[in-house]
């Protein structure tokens, strides 16, 4: 019923009161009149009025009707309009809807509506403002984070940031490479079992060592040292020598808060440095002690020769001693010279650089001079040099510039190849035409380098010496050309590997998660911890068949990590496994792995320990986990490894969330969640899809009141039994 038509109780009450009032007034006035009349008059009045009473009643009704109409107008104006305004204002207050109120009713009411609309508008503006500010602030935070991450990933020093529990929350590419060298099974897990977001640094470093360093830092902070840091050197399980510099990350408190929120480790693998250092020491010691003895022998013999009473035979023996020792000294010095030039390279810090990169940089540099034109001759693209590229480019540019300037050479070429003997490369600056005298070459070597306006205090010779190399001019008379040749050191093989592997490409991988700063090792048991907080290893296996007990074997394991609710694609594990049996042809269409692919791959005995290390301290997640777990468990006896961590099954969890859906195959779920499936049916591809599914299941589980690991496992168990019934 329309509220406009329904009479309000208050109006009816008012009308009733009015009617009563009028009736009362009529009765009282009638009664009073009646009392003043004589009996005779009463009769006449009674006769006169009695028959006309209905008339009075009618007037009263008429008056009442008019009053009702008036009241209604007043009611609409002063009660209904404010009430409506109240309703609308309540709606405004309770929701985010943006609307203007329609002003109605009395003037005051209309004004009030306007004011409320004004407030609402103001609120909307403020809200938009705040949202904007929040968005900008988080964008700039995000920018800063990614800038930091970019900076970190470009650093040539390895950096690892941990929270106080030793959980890694940032690392860079260099650190990743370094940990690879520390891994027990570098070929399989490539260090991903050691370094990863949320992983514990204590798998690499002794917990006590780190605690001790932290304590030192804390003491220094208490004393008010400006930039407290600590250093330690430690050997790793793989026998590498690591030097770590630790710097505290202060907890983000106000003012001079002296508490630590985490720490930064700058790591240096000093194994090689140390070996070089010891080699140098040994050489030096060999030289000093060996020479001392020889010198002593000669000195003594010479002293003896001074005695005038020496007979000829004796004299000859002393001469023999001297000849002998001089020979020994020469050999020793020669050997030392050899070793020192080979093993102990120049002290100047040289960097590893791909020779081809150096050549193209040099070409650009020479071209930028204006003259001469520069082109590449033969360049051995496989050579890695150990150079100070800045000064070397300067030297090349200077020589090219002088060739153009003083000899009018219009074009030069650069050639790079391995030197015929020894671990060196030869870099040639070639030109056609006139050559200079040996004396000029000497001068060019000794002069400070110049390219027109640019002058350097260094000479070409200095640059060559910095590299422990050589430099000369060679003439090819037949081809009427000449070249300057630089002999440069090559980078040692392991260094080449370090630099060559894992060049970051395309999108920058995420190697940080600062949210981990907040998470602390909670005293709560695993079962009580929220699903959103846990670290998961989501994995999948490809197998030769469905029955491990009948000899079916794993042929591939793939796994990805979820830390802090984020899927870390680059911290993945993927490995083919030699099943040591034939792969049934029927199964090949399913997994797409052929016999040839698994031949020569490591066996499960190698892969499983690496996977076990990769999965340690995490919750395992798989689709139809029971299947994969059966394969792992059957290997327990053979490898001695037990996968005892809790396991979650996305199949069961999906059935829990969507009990009415018919299919809980991975594809079907992925489709429901609109997950783009790439590389399905490789173990890693499936693991990643499973991980995406799992991440989407977590909030849906929360809607069902399932928040912790314990709750999820229990609920999944029930679904399992429920499914068994059908």
């Amino acid at each position: 019923m329309n509220p406009r038509l329904r009479p309000d109780r208050r109006v009816l009450l008012a009308l009733a009161a009015l009617a009563l009032l009028m009736l009362g007034w009529a009765l009282v006035s009638g009664a009073l009149l009646w009392l003043t009349l004589e009996p005779a008059e009463r009769d006449t009045a009674g006769a006169l009025i009695g028959s006309r009473l209905p008339l009075a009643g009618m007037t009263m009704v008429f008056v009442l009707l008019i009053a009702a109409a008036g009241l209604n107008v007043l009611y609409r104006h002063y009660i209904v309009a404010p009430a409506r305004l109240l309703d609308e204002a309540r709606i405004l207050l309770g929701t985010d809807v943006q609307r203007t109120l329609t002003p109605q009713g009395a003037a005051e009411n209309r004004a009030l509506a306007d004011v409320i609309s004004g407030f609402a508008e103001q609120r909307a503006r403020l809200r938009a403002d705040i949202t904007q500010q929040v968005r900008e602030a988080s964008r700039s935070v995000e920018q800063e984070r990614s800038r930091l991450a970019a900076l970190m990933s470009e650093l040539t020093q390895s950096v690892v940031v941990c929270n106080l529990d030793g959980r890694i929350l940032l690392y860079n590419n260099r650190a990743r490479l370094q940990f690879r060298a520390l891994s027990d099974a570098p070929a399989v897990a490539s260090g991903a079992e050691l370094i990863g977001l949320g992983r514990s640094i204590y798998t690499v470093f002794d917990r006590k060592l780190v605690a001790h360093a932290l304590e030192n830092i804390q003491q220094r902070m208490q004393r008010g040292v400006a930039s407290p840091s600590a250093q330690f050197v430690t050997t790793t399980r793989a026998g590498q020598l690591l030097r770590a510099q630790m710097t505290p990350v202060r907890a983000g408190g106000e003012g001079d808060d002296k508490s630590i929120g985490g720490f930064v480790l700058m790591l240096d693998n000093i194994t090689r440095d140390f070996e070089e250092e010891s080699a140098r020491d040994r050489l030096l010691l060999g030289l000093t002690e060996g020479s001392r003895a020889s010198l002593a022998n000669m000195q003594a013999a010479i002293d003896m020769l001074d005695f005038p009473d020496l007979d000829t035979a004796m004299r000859e023996r002393f001469h023999g001693v001297i000849r002998d020792e001089v020979g020994a000294m020469s050999t020793r010095v020669g050997k030392l010279a050899d070793e020192s030039t080979r093993g102990i390279k120049a002290r100047w810090p040289l960097e590893d650089m791909l020779g081809a990169d150096l050549v193209s940089a040099a070409l650009r540099r020479i071209e930028s001079l204006g003259a001469p034109r520069a082109a590449a001759d033969e360049v051995d693209g496989s050579l890695w040099l150990k150079v100070d590229s800045f000064s070397l480019l300067q030297a090349l540019a200077c020589l090219a510039f002088r060739l153009a300037d003083e000899y009018d050479i219009r074009a030069v070429q650069l050639r790079l190849g391995a030197a015929p003997q020894g671990a060196r490369a030869q870099l040639d600056l070639i030109w056609q035409g006139q050559t200079m005298s040996t004396e000029t070459v000497m001068n060019w070597q000794m002069d400070g380098m110049t390219t027109g306006s640019e002058r350097s205090p260094l000479s070409v010779r200095d640059v060559v010496e910095r590299h422990g190399g050589e430099f000369w001019l060679e003439r090819e008379r037949v081809r009427h050309r000449a070249f300057f040749r630089f002999l440069l050191p090559l980078a040692s093989e392991r260094e080449q590997l370090d630099t060559a592997t894992f060049v970051p490409q395309g999108s920058r991988p995420e190697y940080y998660d600062f949210d981990l700063f907040r998470s602390t090792e909670s005293s709560r048991t695993l079962a009580d911890r929220p699903l959103t907080e846990l670290t998961y290893t989501v994995f999948d296996t490809e197998t030769t068949g469905l029955n491990p007990s009948e000899g079916d074997e794993i042929i591939q394991i793939g796994a990805a990590r979820i830390v802090n609710g984020k899927l870390l694609r680059q911290e993945s594990f993927e490995q083919l496994v030699d099943p040591q049996r034939t792969i049934p042809a029927a199964s090949i269409p399913i997994h797409g792995i052929t016999q040839v692919q698994v031949d020569g791959q490591p066996t499960i005995a190698t892969v499983l320990p690496a996977f076990h290390a990769f999965a340690q301290d995490t919750v395992l997640v798989a689709h139809n986990a029971a299947f994969d777990m059966r394969f792992l468990q059957l290997k327990e006896a053979a490898t001695g490894l037990r996968f005892e961590q809790p396991v979650l099954d996305t199949l069961l969890l999906s059935a829990l969330v969507h009990p009415n859906q018919e299919s809980h195959r991975l594809e079907a779920i992925a489709e429901r969640f609109n997950i783009t499936v790439i590389g399905r049916h490789t173990a890693l591809g499936d693991a990643i899809v499973t991980a995406e599914v799992f991440l989407r299941l977590i909030p849906l589980l929360a809607e069902k009141g399932i928040h912790t690991l314990g709750e999820a496992r229990e609920a999944a168990q029930q679904t399992y039994y429920a499914r068994l019934k059908y």
Binding site: E289, G290, R292, L295, A296, A300, D303, M304, D324
Partner: protein, 124 residues
């Protein structure tokens, strides 16, 4: 009575000079070519002074010196260590193990002779 000197060094090139030098000074000289031989010779002949090289096969000069000092009957044997190890830590070690003097190679033969003479003087 002439003083007996034992020269222990594995390098013939120094032995020849030292032997010649010490004989010329009028001492009765015996030689040993490694640590074990040196220790045996010291016990057998009880020389007044030993010119002891540190780096010898068998036993190092340090070991020989230390073992000599554990023998009560050998406490009069003076020990002069000759060595190419010139670090002050080596000198300290030699003296701590009971050597009476320490000469680093190379050395002047005249000074060595003077040193030997002065070391033998108090006993004669």
């Amino acid at each position: 009575m002439t003083n007996k000197i034992l020269i222990a060094d594995d390098e013939p090139n120094i032995l020849i000079s030292l032997e010649f030098l010490m004989k010329r000074e009028g001492y009765e000289v015996t030689v040993a070519r490694d640590g074990i031989e040196a220790l045996a010779a010291i016990i057998a002949t009880r020389p007044d002074l030993v010119l002891l090289d540190v780096m010898m096969p068998g036993k190092t000069g340090f070991e020989v010196c230390q073992e000599v000092r554990t023998h009560d009957g050998l406490k009069d044997v003076r020990i002069l260590m000759l060595t190419a190890k010139g670090r002050d830590t080596d000198v300290a070690k030699g003296l701590a193990l009971g050597a009476d003097a320490y000469v680093t190679k190379p050395f002047s033969t005249r000074e060595l002779v003077q040193k030997v003479r002065s070391m033998l003087e108090p006993t004669t």
